[in-house]
Symmetry: C2
Subunit: 315 residues, 2 copies
Amino acid sequence: MKKISVASAPATVANVNAGFDILGFSLPGISDQVRAWVIAEPVVRIKEIVGVDIPSIPAKNTASVALQEMIKGEKLTHGFEIVIEKGIPLASGLGGSAASAVAAVVAGNQLLKKKLSLEKLFFYALKGEEVASGGIHGDNIAPALYGGITACLKTSDGAFQIVPIRCPKKIFCSIFHPAFPLETKKARGILKTEISLKDYIQQSMHLTGLLMGFNLGDYELIYHHAKDIIITPQRKSLLPFYDLFYPALIKAQSLAFGISGAGPSIFILSKNLPAAKKMSALLTSLSHKHKVSGQVFTGQVGAGKPEVTILKVRE
Amino acid sequence: MKKISVASAPATVANVNAGFDILGFSLPGISDQVRAWVIAEPVVRIKEIVGVDIPSIPAKNTASVALQEMIKGEKLTHGFEIVIEKGIPLASGLGGSAASAVAAVVAGNQLLKKKLSLEKLFFYALKGEEVASGGIHGDNIAPALYGGITACLKTSDGAFQIVPIRCPKKIFCSIFHPAFPLETKKARGILKTEISLKDYIQQSMHLTGLLMGFNLGDYELIYHHAKDIIITPQRKSLLPFYDLFYPALIKAQSLAFGISGAGPSIFILSKNLPAAKKMSALLTSLSHKHKVSGQVFTGQVGAGKPEVTILKVRE
């Protein structure tokens, strides 16, 4: 009998407004899946990548790099062969590379005799993510692995800390994913290296209001402070549909909206599912009106989480 | 019978680490007091200022300006005569001007037929504070009026919002107030108008960690994130004792430390009262060792709050 571990990890929205490089949340219904089984040699082999046309070079894939780091870090004497099924669009700003890395470590962990802590899985997934984003950013990995809304922090010594953000009220999300890719590296490259003290203070107020809005389940605080006055104004030029869509979105008075991750997807937050469905319908109609083809998703903020099962098959 | 309203308002620590212009907390045991009674004319007269030698020109005093704004805003047909008793050292970074303004509006409110909301009192006290700090900053007014730990936010339309920060664990504070004044305007004037994106991100992580540390009562988060990498490095040159004291303070491993308000006072946070007393003793010995005369206070973070009573005296 061969044990196959099948794990999925959800899409995530990172860079949530003023929480640049910090705040993220998971989404239900969109995920990447990794199937893994043990092989004798302590290496990772990608058997297949389903759903997209990406190179299956183990050193360049977030899932395989994450598992290679696990093999190295845990001094495993065996390796893994994996099949990656991409459900999250590539370079969409929905945390696809993080989800593959998380699904891989969750799948791999299930095949170990001694299960690893979430902290260790985070660390290995992060090493995988590094390949894709060109930097160490855990704000997609954290919600993909832990579920919910998370703050991913670094101490001054560079250690990561994941802080789950309580949110007593349900919040719903509509996503528009335009059908063109945007590389995180490119979206990062255009950012100015200096910001004004004035903007820093106002953005810190927004960050505080957004965090406290989630913590207290206070829609009013979220509405006023789910803003980003520093990064979005610089990045929106990379999203040619942004200025076409936004007047209609502002008029529709959602709870909040912003660029998901480094873009090009955008997200809209709503107080309840009917409102979110209305916003999703608006996104669909805007996409038709302005001839920007893309996909629309709707789901509860933070409701996505990793899932894993073991299949036993005859060899 | 003449009704005299006697109100006190506590000292406060604002600019708490990464919460520049946002986070503040009140302190017990140090306060300003304002005694007020009604006079026929709709003006404010300062009868006496006790405890310090400051000009009693109503237009330049935070207490009288706050009450004048109340008279104007509420269209009062009467005025107030007041006695201000300063218990908080002047230009100490302990929110003395805010405390006088808060004590004044709390005292005045008690003499009104229709009591005003805390939001309105905040607004009038803030107008008083503006005279002293040369800018609209509510981060001392908010904790002085509401007590506890508060976030004072501004929306993008410039409206203020006070958010009380829950903190399920008690935290204690030691204050060293060196015996020299430092004007807020001066401490503000030296700040650079630009900061790096890198510092903004790290400081935002610290702000998130500090807020979540308070919210969850998580000492570990507070320890790692009660830091300020933007403002303190620029201001510490105004505090000649800073670099003399800090090696010893770091060695003593408190929960956190920083400049209180715009300085020159510094604060230290501890997990319990014995630890705070130890830190206060250390501050006293450092002040002797380095010949920096000053005062030391110890108290529970957020335990200060306004108090008001009405005296009835024969005219």
